[in-house]
């Protein structure tokens, strides 16, 4: 009786330790985010009050300011245009390539795939210099098109790599059956294979969207006043309003809220994509 009691007690304490560690980690991860959101809702005077004010009357003045005093809506639109169009373009070019790599006996199949992936490893500064000189000479600086092209190329390698994994899971008998029924291979690919790997395409697009949405150095170098994307706009706020944390944190909050919502909704796909890439290699 006594020993059973001890055992239960031990289990109980183990549980307490476990959940304490869990709560500490959750706190470390979420506190900075919560703090930024709180700061964006504080009035300017409350921001710098020490010790910090935990209970305050929230204000949306900073959100109002960044939309009226700065073309913030414009920046959001730029980010949306660039990330969605580059993702779409890289899927259009990358999906057939991934399909080709999985369906045909191509010499050095693995090397091609690895070569495609290796483009992601180059330091960003090595890539941006030549493209800056090129875009400058053809007057594409300060034009969203230059960003779309660059992001498309970068997402492409990723699309091929990830979709190769998803497409391999679909047996080749399926395309063959469709081709026997009179479909051309290309039609079979469009009409049957693509719908079949829908979840893979969604996971891949999520990654591309997030990468384009967050990308900074290319956008910093290639955009100007009107074509700024969100990350670049945020850094100009830092230079601009130095200690004006209200606007700064409001801008930061707007940039991160869609991503947080997105990550919670699509948690499963993101984790699957992240780890699948690893297992494949």
């Amino acid at each position: 009786m006594n020993s059973l009691y001890k055992k239960r007690n031990k289990k109980f304490f183990k549980g307490i330790i476990f959940y304490t560690v869990l709560v500490i980690i959750v706190f470390i991860v979420t506190f900075p985010l919560i703090w930024v959101i709180l700061t964006s809702l504080k009035s300017h005077i409350d921001t710098f009050r020490m010790p910090p004010k935990w209970i305050f009357t929230p204000t949306l003045i900073h959100y109002h300011d960044i939309f009226t005093k700065h073309p913030f809506l414009n920046y959001i639109l730029n980010s949306i245009i660039v990330s969605f169009s580059s993702t779409a373009l890289s899927l259009i070019v990358g999906l057939p390539a991934a399909y080709g790599l999985t369906r045909f006996k191509i010499k050095r199949n693995k090397d091609i795939a690895f070569f495609i992936l290796s483009t992601r490893m180059a330091p960003p500064t090595l890539v941006i210099l030549p493209f800056f000189i090129l875009f400058r000479s053809i007057n594409l600086i300060n034009n969203l098109l230059s960003l779309i092209v660059l992001y498309m190329i970068f997402n492409l390698s990723f699309v091929v790599w990830m979709m190769r994994g998803f497409l391999r899971e679909i047996p080749t008998e399926i395309d063959e059956a469709a081709m026997i029924d009179g479909c051309s291979r290309f039609l079979a690919f469009i009409k049957i294979i693509i719908p079949l790997c829908r979840s893979g395409i969604i996971a891949t697009s999520i990654f591309c969207l997030v990468m384009s949405w967050n990308e900074f150095i290319f956008a910093l170098v290639l955009t100007g006043q009107k074509t700024r994307t969100l990350p670049v706009a945020i850094t100009t706020f830092i230079e601009f309003s130095g200690t004006h944390w209200g606007q700064l944190t409001a801008a930061g909050t707007i940039a991160m809220i869609p991503l947080i919502v997105f990550s919670i909704v699509t948690q499963r796909q993101i984790i699957r994509g992240m780890t699948m890439g690893a297992v494949e290699r």
Partner: protein, 302 residues
């Protein structure tokens, strides 16, 4: 006649059909690799400077010579390797411990995962902004919390001794969850048999970890570290928002130095030669690293 034509047509189709799918992608990617490499190389041999237009000359290897002998280059390389080395090491140690600790069923696991996913997908710019505010000497939360422990707050990002460490802590905050989620997925994928067999043999705790878990997990460990190394060597955003390379040049990683040379001083030739030097060093290191790791990985399986 007709038959021959059709035959050759089929053969043609068989040989070339794969390229119909692959070619657009390959053309784009090859041009992505070749164009910048060639253009960067030719630029690195010139004295191209946008502040002095029309005075561009061919200077041979002069840019390379100047950069290799410059202490600022070596300083930036040192900072880069310190940042990447310690950052990735810490992320791995913490991520691995967490993965082992949380590798079981518990209430709220899905929720826990969602929370840990957030830092990974945030933009480094936003992360840098957040931590810049937290590190603020006067109204920052870090000094506030340290006050409870009786530690006097300092301007962590402005001090020579702590600037780089502060950057590394931020990087660790953002990327430890990545290591954790990767390794946790790896652990969950391991079949229980090995562990049961080892337990029957009397292994437990640390031995189980050392002789069963780590060897079985090795492929995923290698990949996770490799991904982080590559990404960490590409870091630029964090330095740009948090310290601008300062104080002095304490946090000037190579990417930031190249950016300064190119887009602050407009010395394109020097910047291109620097970028090439950096790329060569990184490639050599990653090549050796990959070779070494895969070799030890394979040996373990034989």
């Amino acid at each position: 006649m007709f038959k021959i034509l059709q035959f050759s047509n089929n053969k043609w189709k068989k040989n070339w059909e794969p390229y119909f799918y692959l070619l657009p992608c390959l053309i784009i990617i090859v041009s992505l690799i070749l164009f910048p490499l060639i253009k960067a190389f030719t630029t690195s041999l010139q004295s191209l400077n946008f502040m002095r237009p029309g005075m561009t000359e061919f200077v041979g290897l002069e840019n390379y010579f100047k950069e290799i002998t410059s202490p600022r280059t070596w300083n930036s390389l040192k900072i880069t390797f310190l940042f990447t080395g310690f950052g990735v090491l810490l992320e791995f140690i913490l991520g691995f411990s967490m993965a082992v600790f949380f590798n079981r069923d518990f209430k709220g696991k899905t929720f826990f995962r969602s929370i840990l996913l957030i830092p990974i997908i945030l933009s480094p710019i936003v992360v840098g902004l957040i931590w810049r505010i937290l590190y603020n000497p006067d109204a920052g939360m870090i000094n506030y919390f340290l006050g409870f422990l009786g530690i006097k707050g300092k301007a962590w990002l402005a001090m020579k001794e702590s600037a780089l460490i502060s950057l590394i802590i931020t990087d660790v905050w953002q990327w430890t969850p990545f290591m954790f989620l990767m390794l946790l997925a790896g652990l969950e994928g391991l079949s229980q048999e090995h562990f049961d067999a080892a337990k029957v043999d009397g292994a437990s705790g640390f031995n189980l970890l050392r002789y069963i878990t780590i060897p079985l997990l090795k492929p995923i460990i290698i990949i996770a570290i490799l991904i982080r190394l590559i990404d960490s060597l590409r870091t630029f955003d964090l330095v740009f928002v948090m310290t601008s390379g300062g104080p002095g040049m304490e946090t000037e990683i190579t990417n930031y130095y190249i950016y300064q040379t190119a887009f602050r001083y407009w010395r394109m030739g020097s910047a291109a030669s620097l970028a090439i030097i950096f790329t060569v060093i990184v490639s050599v290191f990653s090549f050796i690293f990959i070779k070494y790791l895969f070799k030890t990985g394979e040996n373990l399986y034989e």
